[in-house]
Symmetry: C2
Subunit: 440 residues, 2 copies
Amino acid sequence: MNEKVKKQVYKPKAISGFPEWLPEFRSVEQRWMDHLRKVFESYGYCSIETPAVEELDVLTAKGEVDKEIYVLQRLHADPNDPNGSRGGDARLALHFDQTVPLARYVAQRFGDLAFPFKRYQMQKVWRGERPQLGRLREFYQCDIDVIGVDQLPLAFDAEMPAVMYEAMMGLNVGRVQIRISNRKILLGLVEALGIGDSVLVTRIVDKMEKIGRAAVADMLKNELKIATPAIDAILQLAGTKGDASALRNISSQNAQMQEGLEELTFVMNAVPQGSAIADLGIVRGLDYYTGTVYETALLDIPEFTGSVCSGGRYDDLAGNYINRHLPGVGISIGFTRLFDVLSHYGHIKPGPKTPTQVLVVLPSEERRTQAAQTASTLRKRGFNVELYHAPQNVKKQMEYANKKGIPFVWFPPFDDAGKHEIKNMTTGVQNAGDPATWTI
Amino acid sequence: MNEKVKKQVYKPKAISGFPEWLPEFRSVEQRWMDHLRKVFESYGYCSIETPAVEELDVLTAKGEVDKEIYVLQRLHADPNDPNGSRGGDARLALHFDQTVPLARYVAQRFGDLAFPFKRYQMQKVWRGERPQLGRLREFYQCDIDVIGVDQLPLAFDAEMPAVMYEAMMGLNVGRVQIRISNRKILLGLVEALGIGDSVLVTRIVDKMEKIGRAAVADMLKNELKIATPAIDAILQLAGTKGDASALRNISSQNAQMQEGLEELTFVMNAVPQGSAIADLGIVRGLDYYTGTVYETALLDIPEFTGSVCSGGRYDDLAGNYINRHLPGVGISIGFTRLFDVLSHYGHIKPGPKTPTQVLVVLPSEERRTQAAQTASTLRKRGFNVELYHAPQNVKKQMEYANKKGIPFVWFPPFDDAGKHEIKNMTTGVQNAGDPATWTI
C-alpha cells in the first residue's frame, strides 16, 4: 500500500540567465516594484498584463526580429488539437518585449480603450541570448507608454522622464541622469548636409559612448565616405549637452532639424529641474523611434554601464495589426538587469527574510487558544504575526525569531495570573503591553 | 531617408487558453492579488519567485507528468551555445505548477533558508491542455506552503485553511466552505478491510462529487471486486461530514485510521469557527498527499464547479533533488481559473479603467506651469493625478475624465485672480478647494 520506490536524487543545476532570489532579496525586489507601481499610478497609468505567449506570426509581423525568440512546443503533442503547437510546427512563442504585445493588445481592443491610453506593464520577457552579467534570458521590464489616436501631444514626451526620474529616485541607486534628444535634429542635419543615408549615420553615432569620438569619426569616414567638414558638423552636434539653453546656439539647417530643436526645447522646459539633460549624442539605434529619445545613466554606480531606462517617441505603434495611425511615446526600465548587476556588486542591502513583525510565543499546548487569540488580535490590527508552531522551550522559540530576523517577540500570559510582555529583538528591551493597543 | 515599406496588416487572433483583461478588470485582478498577498504576509509567509523556466529533467524527475508540458525551443538556435535549447533537443520547459519549482528551490538553497520555511508564490504556470472555460493554458496560481526539516507540526495543517478562508473572504465570492479530511482515515479503513490497493480505492472515491455515490459503488464492485459490506463501510465513512464532533462516533479499525482521526480532530479544533467542515469524502486523487487534504467550494456561485482552493500534507517535498526529509503542507488557489469563470458569468464588477483620481484641467499653454504645480502638489499628497495633456476647451477635457471614469476634475486658476475649484463627477457638485489641504 502506497509503496514508494526510492528514486535517484537529481541534483538541479542553476540555469544561467534565469535569475531567482533568496527571500531577503526578493523582499527588496517587491519593495522596488511596489514603488514603481505607485509612481506609475500616481501619474494615471493603468496596469495591463498580456499573456507571456503570443502567436509567432504576431511577434514577427514587423519582419525579422533581432532578439532570439523562444518558441513553445508541447512535450506530448495532441494530434487532434487544432490549437496545439505540434511537432516541429510550433506557432506560439514567448514575448521578447512588451511593446509588441502592447501593440497587439491595443489593435485588438481598440474599441474598448479610452485614448490617450496610458498604461504601465511590469512583466517578464524572454530572450534566448547567451547569458552574461546584465544580459539575462528571463527578466522583468517595467514600461510606461502613452498611445494616441492620429496625434499625441508633446506634453507626454516630457511626462516620461518626469515619471521615471521619480520612479528611480525611490530605488536607492544614487544620482540618476536622464539624457534626452530628438532624432529629428541629427537626421535633419544629415539630410541638410546631403551625405546620404541618415539612418546609417545615426547607427554609427549611437556607438559614441562605447567606442569613442575618434572611432566614430573613422567609421563615418571609412564606411560612409563622409567628408571631414560634414563629420565635424555631425560630431559637434552630437557633442552638445546641457539644459534647454544649450540648444539656443544651434542653427537649424532645415525644417526637420528646426522641428526637432523646438520639440526638444519644449520637453526640456517641461521636465522637472535637475532630472534630465539634453544630450544630442543620444540617438538610439532603433529606426523605430521618430522624435524624442531617452537614455539614463546611474552616475554613482560605475559598474552599471549602458542605459538603465530608455525609450522614445514612435510614429505608429500598431500599424502591423490595425489600419489606424497610433503614435506613442514610451520608456522602459530594464528592471531585472538593474537588480542583477546591483546585487552582484553588493549595492543591494538585503531586506527582511520574512514579513513577520511579531512572533507570538506558544507557552504550552493548553494555552494555544489564548496565544492564537493574541496573534489574531495583532493581525487584525494590521501587524504581520506568526504564532510559534509548537510549545517548545522559550529559548528555542526565540532562536527561531532570531534566525528569521523577526523584530519583536510577544510573550502572552503563561498562566491566568500572567501578563503580556514584548521583547524588542534589536534593543533587547522587554516591556509589558496589550495586544489591543500595542504599537511598534 | 527612413523609408517605410507599407506592410500588410496581420490581424491578431485571440489565443484560446491565454486570457488577458481590459484595464477595468485588470484593476480588480490587482486588487485581488494585493489582498491575497496582504493576508499571506500577515501570517508570516514570505514571497519567492522562481523562473518560469526549469530544466525539463527537473520537471520530470518524479517520473511521468500528467500535465502537458511546454518545452522551449529557440527560433534560431546557436550551435555554439552549450546552454541553448537546440533543434529538437530542447532541455528547458515552462513550469506547470509551483510545487516542483518550490522543491527545486528548497533543495538548491537548503543551507540559506530558515525552517520551518513559510512561503507564498503567486505566479503564472503553463499547461498545454485543450482549453475550455475554467481550463486555461496560462494561469496564475496562488500557493502557500510550509516546509519543515524531518518533521512539521500539525499546527500548520490548521493554519492553511485559516489563511485561505481569510484570503477568499476578501474576494467577494460569497460564502466559502473549506472541506478537510485526512487520507490516513480512508487508507486505514481500506487496509483494515483487507481489500487490496488503497490508492486505487481513493482514486475512485475521489470521483464521488462528479459521478455520484451509486456509480462509485459500482466501480468499487466491478473494477476492484470489493464485496458489498466493505463498499458500504467505505461509503459510510466517505459520507461523514460535520465539525470535529462528527468524528467522535467513528470507530477506528487500526493505528493508521486512529492517527488520521486524531490529526483531523486536532485540525478541526484549531481552525476558525465556521471556516471549514470535516468531510471524509475528500481524498484528492494525488497519491502525493499523505495526511490532511483540503478542497473548497463556493456555496453561492453554482457556476463554479469543482474546488477553488485545494491542497494537503505531503511527506517529502524534495526527495527527488536532495537527500533530506522535508515534510510540508500547502494549499493553492487556482486564481485565474476562478477569475475567468467568475467574470464569464458576470460575477465580477469591473473596477476603475484608470487609477487616476483627479484630472487637473489645463487652462491654457501659458498656465501650464501653474497647472502642473497643482498636479504635483496633489500627487505628493498621495493622490493619483493626471494633468490634461493639451489646452483644449474645458468640455473636451471633462469628456476625457468622463470616458475614463475619473472621479474628480480640478480647475486650477484660469487667470491670476482665479481660484481653484473641484468638481465631483459623480454628484456634479463643484466646490472651491486648496491643493495643499483638499481631501476626497
